[in-house]
């Protein structure tokens, strides 16, 4: 939470002011972002809309407590995070606990029967591994990550987003998803196997090519927008 607050403090645009805007404009200002945030974590449009509604109504009731330490949107996302976790918790409880038969195929598809890599990791250039160069690139990566997460089994994806993207405490994740720490490591492992392979194709190797193309002909092509050449 603090990391995200810091990251967006320097930003301008909607939500950067320290005073809150009219709640009736919240849906227009932040609705899509909040919805996407919830959808990435709940994977269900109906539940995501519900969580956004709950968050906005809670924010409305808590307007007086907004201290202006962070941007309006950061504040709203902070509230939404709690609502998303509530939803996950309820869902796990309603399904009668998360220990359904485990027929995950992630490792089977990643390794041969001799437990060797089916498709060994390919080398990424050091340029491709460097931190994002701009906010635009950060957002493009977030979009690629969302697409790749869709190919990760639900519980592994939830564990990864909560732990790595949101930096939630492991104890809390285990409580919310009602799993043991060992389960959590297994889920994170599966998510990393899938995401690494997917983002290798979608991002890191593609980034290589775009940066190589830029290096090859530095100036003289004002037409192409950065990032558009990616497959």
């Amino acid at each position: 939470m603090t990391g995200q607050a810091e990251a967006s403090d320097r930003r301008t645009g909607p939500g950067a002011a320290t005073a809150l805007s009219d709640p009736r404009s919240w849906v227009d200002l932040h609705g899509d972002i909040l919805f996407r945030f919830a959808l990435a974590r709940l994977r269900d449009r109906h539940a995501a809309e519900e969580a956004v509604q709950e968050a906005l109504l809670a924010a409305l009731g808590a307007r007086a407590t907004f201290a202006g330490h962070c941007a309006e949107r950061t504040w709203l996302i902070g509230i939404l995070k709690h609502k998303v976790v509530d939803h996950l918790r309820r869902r796990i409880r309603d399904r009668g606990q998360g220990d359904e038969p485990d027929n995950d195929t992630t490792e089977k598809s990643a390794f041969t029967w001799e437990s060797a890599w089916r498709q060994p990791p390919r080398r990424w250039s050091s340029a491709a591994q460097e931190d994002p160069a701009s906010d635009l690139e950060r957002q493009e990566f977030a979009a690629a990550l969302r697409e790749c997460l869709a190919g990760v089994p639900e519980r592994a994806a939830q564990a990864f987003v909560l732990k790595i993207v949101d930096e939630t405490d492991s104890d809390e994740i285990c409580k919310v998803l009602s799993i043991t720490p060992t389960n959590l490591w297994v889920l994170l492992h599966r998510a990393r196997l899938r995401l690494r392979a997917c983002l290798e194709q979608r991002w890191f190797l593609a980034r290589d090519q775009t940066s190589a193309a830029k290096d090859a002909k530095p100036p003289a092509q004002p037409k192409g927008k950065p990032g558009k050449g990616r497959p």
């Binding site: 995200q4 972002i33 996407r36 809309e49 591994q129 957002q139 790595i164 930096e167 990393r192």
Partner: protein, 96 residues
């Protein structure tokens, strides 16, 4: 000493990012990494992956208010209307 396969090694390298390894895990992993370039790459790459993903939540916050190009990702017009109504109603109730 147990010989680690790439499958064992990948599990252990992921676990290492979240908890300390046992003595045997450490020894077996070190042994495997000495002879396996693919797993050495894997270890470096999941570190890069985690680092990039950590910033992805903040990137979501910063992106423009509405996503015009990718409408499948955002609210449907109906959802938007429902939300608008419920906020307006609640806001009206709390304001004199």
């Amino acid at each position: 000493m147990i010989l680690f396969s790439c499958k064992d090694a990948s599990r252990t390298m992921s676990a290492q990012r979240d908890r300390p390894l046992s003595f045997f895990e450490r020894v077996s992993l070190t042994g495997h990494l000495l002879v396996c370039a693919a797993c050495r790459l894997y270890r470096r790459q999941i570190a890069v992956l985690d680092r990039w993903c950590r910033g992805a939540g903040a990137a979501e916050e910063a992106s423009a208010a509405s996503i015009n190009e990718k409408t499948t990702d955002g609210l449907t017009p109906e959802s938007r209307e429902r939300l608008r109504l419920s906020i307006a109603k609640a806001a009206g109730d709390t304001q004199p």
